[in-house]
């Protein structure tokens, strides 16, 4: 038994190295084919990574809603002290936490943002009202949060209560749209892989038609004839996926600094990050499977012609 396994293994290794040798013999064609595959695989991977990162951020925002409570400004006697007012709110069971941001703190934050410093210096006085950030205990229950925001707005000393769900909903819709885009690109990628491999294998068969005919004549099984083409399909896809992984991470690297600048304008520490090895592995496996499928289909179509007529 071990002998059979070693024979089987050595036969497969031989085909593997033989196929690698053939790839190296026509380096320009091989590299071009692999790059086409890599680009087809890269596009959905990049979009996937962007959507995935966006989604984790929006999910965080949606799961942890905030109500911004702008208090009446000025030192009117009717207006409560913001800190005391906050303490009072905490007694409401529908409120989990309250955080006070004084006008001075608010201004300082703006000051640190790009492009705001000069505008602020031009102001005669601080226009910002005192702000309470309310963390509702309502969680994801959107309607309850809206009711709570209305209640808060009607309280004495409150100017406006902003619960910006609409903006979040829009963002969620955009993420949905991008997710659909990833699916579409992934399908196009699949079709691209199948077409590229079919064509590559078809050309390989034409180049080796004489060899195939002779192997068939001296008693080679169809599995034997098929094997090098299956390896060619799988190897192209393997290298395509490998290149795609590199290209995706390179693109993400190029996007990283503009994205973090953009994110800082939105007061977010949003980052795209890298393609994880797990995802890269799945993509490689899918690409190789499609490559195998496409080459198998293409060779079988040719093998049908070899049947004795």
């Amino acid at each position: 038994m071990p002998k059979q396994i070693s024979v089987w293994l050595s036969r497969h290794l031989q085909v593997l190295f033989d196929t690698l040798g053939r790839l190296c013999k026509t380096p320009v064609t091989s590299v071009m084919t692999i790059l086409v595959l890599a680009i087809a695989i890269t596009l959905p991977m990049i979009l996937y990574k962007i959507v995935d990162s966006l989604e984790s951020v929006t999910a965080n925002w949606i799961d942890n809603p905030r109500i911004s409570l702008f208090l009446e400004s000025g030192t009117d006697a009717d207006n409560p002290d913001p800190v005391e007012f906050g303490q009072k709110l905490l007694q409401n069971p529908k409120i989990e936490d309250v955080q006070y941001i004084s006008p001075e703190q608010g201004l300082a934050e703006f000051y640190n943002l790009d492009g705001f410093a000069e505008a602020i210096e031009a102001l005669p006085s601080n226009p910002l009202p005192p702000l309470l950030i309310v963390v509702p205990a309502t969680g994801r229950d959107n309607d309850a949060t809206i009711i709570l925001a209305d209640e808060l707005e009607n309280m004495q000393g409150v100017d406006t209560a902003v619960y910006d769900q609409q903006w979040l909903n829009r963002l969620a819709a955009i993420v949905d749209l991008f997710q659909r885009g990833v699916l579409v690109l992934a399908c196009l990628m699949g079709i691209g892989i199948v077409l590229v491999i079919s064509n590559t294998v078809r050309l390989g068969i034409i180049n080796r038609a004489a060899e195939i005919e002779i192997i068939d004549q001296v008693g080679g099984t169809h599995a034997f004839i098929r094997r090098p083409f299956l390896y060619a399909g799988a190897l192209h896809c393997f290298f395509g996926a490998l290149f795609a992984w590199g290209m995706t991470n390179m693109t993400l690297y190029l996007l990283a600094s503009p994205v973090s600048r953009l994110a800082s304008l939105y007061e977010s520490d949003f980052m795209i990050g890298w393609i994880s090895p797990g995802i890269a592995l799945i993509v490689t496996a899918v690409a190789i499977s499609l490559g195998l499928l496409a080459s198998r289909f293409t060779v079988d179509r040719h093998l049908r012609k070899l049947k004795p007529g």
């Binding site: 024979v7 002779i214 004549q217 001296v218 008693g219 080679g220 099984t221 169809h222 034997f224 007529g309």
Partner: protein, 222 residues
């Protein structure tokens, strides 16, 4: 060993290359297949090597009805037949020894055994010193002998040869015929298509003569 009963072969073009051919070749026999160009010699051999299927009638080889074979059985059957092709059909991007090794490689024979048998076969046809050469650097006769080595390396039960001496000088042609006779000594059934009638006079053997797809002389039983 080989039995044709009422075999006809009509090509898709409509041409009937063989009609109602019946004969039997016993195991270990040595037979020449003769006939004018276009008589159907190659067609008859292709029916035995299962490159073509009979349109009508039955072809039995070693008690197997060839029309019934499917898939891997076809490949396995072909490994029991050694064919020398009219146009040598060698792979020009492989060395002589790799060409000869092909039937063993597809059969999954292990490496050392393959080496041994390839050398033995090349020795037999006198090309051992050219094992590492490429077919293109050999003469026509040498290429023909490579084809013969490839046909016998798998120890087939039957050897089919289509005009194996077609473009060789008489001395070389005789040498090659001697080779086939040697193979026949070890009980291999040999069928050779030729229109070189010289051999028919010199060698004691059976003869199947075709004319326009009909068997005009030979064993007509079955």
């Amino acid at each position: 060993m080989i039995r044709f009963s009422q075999v006809s072969k009509r090509y898709p073009s409509g041409h009937e290359a063989l009609s109602h051919v019946s004969f039997t070749l016993v195991k270990g026999s040595f037979t020449f297949l003769t006939g004018h160009s276009g008589a159907g010699k190659s067609t008859l051999l292709k029916l035995i090597s299962l490159s073509e299927l009979a349109t009508r009638g039955q072809v039995l080889v070693a008690d197997k009805n060839l029309a019934r074979l499917k898939g891997n059985r076809i490949a396995a059957y072909r490994r029991t037949i050694g064919t020398v092709f009219q146009e040598h059909k060698l792979l020009h991007d492989r060395t002589v020894e790799d060409n000869v090794a092909l039937p063993l490689v597809v059969a999954g024979t292990d490496h050392s055994e393959t080496q041994r048998r390839v050398r033995a076969a090349l020795d037999k046809v006198g090309l051992l010193n050219k094992a590492r050469r490429y077919p293109i650097t050999l003469s026509g006769g040498e290429q023909q002998r490579v084809g013969i080595a490839r046909a016998v390396v798998g120890r087939p039960q039957v050897i089919l040869a289509d005009e194996p001496t077609g473009n060789l000088d008489p001395a070389l042609a005789d040498e090659i015929m001697q080779l086939f006779l040697q193979f026949n000594q070890v009980d291999i059934t040999v069928l050779i298509a030729t229109h070189d009638y010289r051999h028919l006079e010199r060698i004691r053997c059976g003869v199947l003569a075709l004319s326009d797809g009909r068997l005009v002389s030979g064993e007509q039983d079955a």
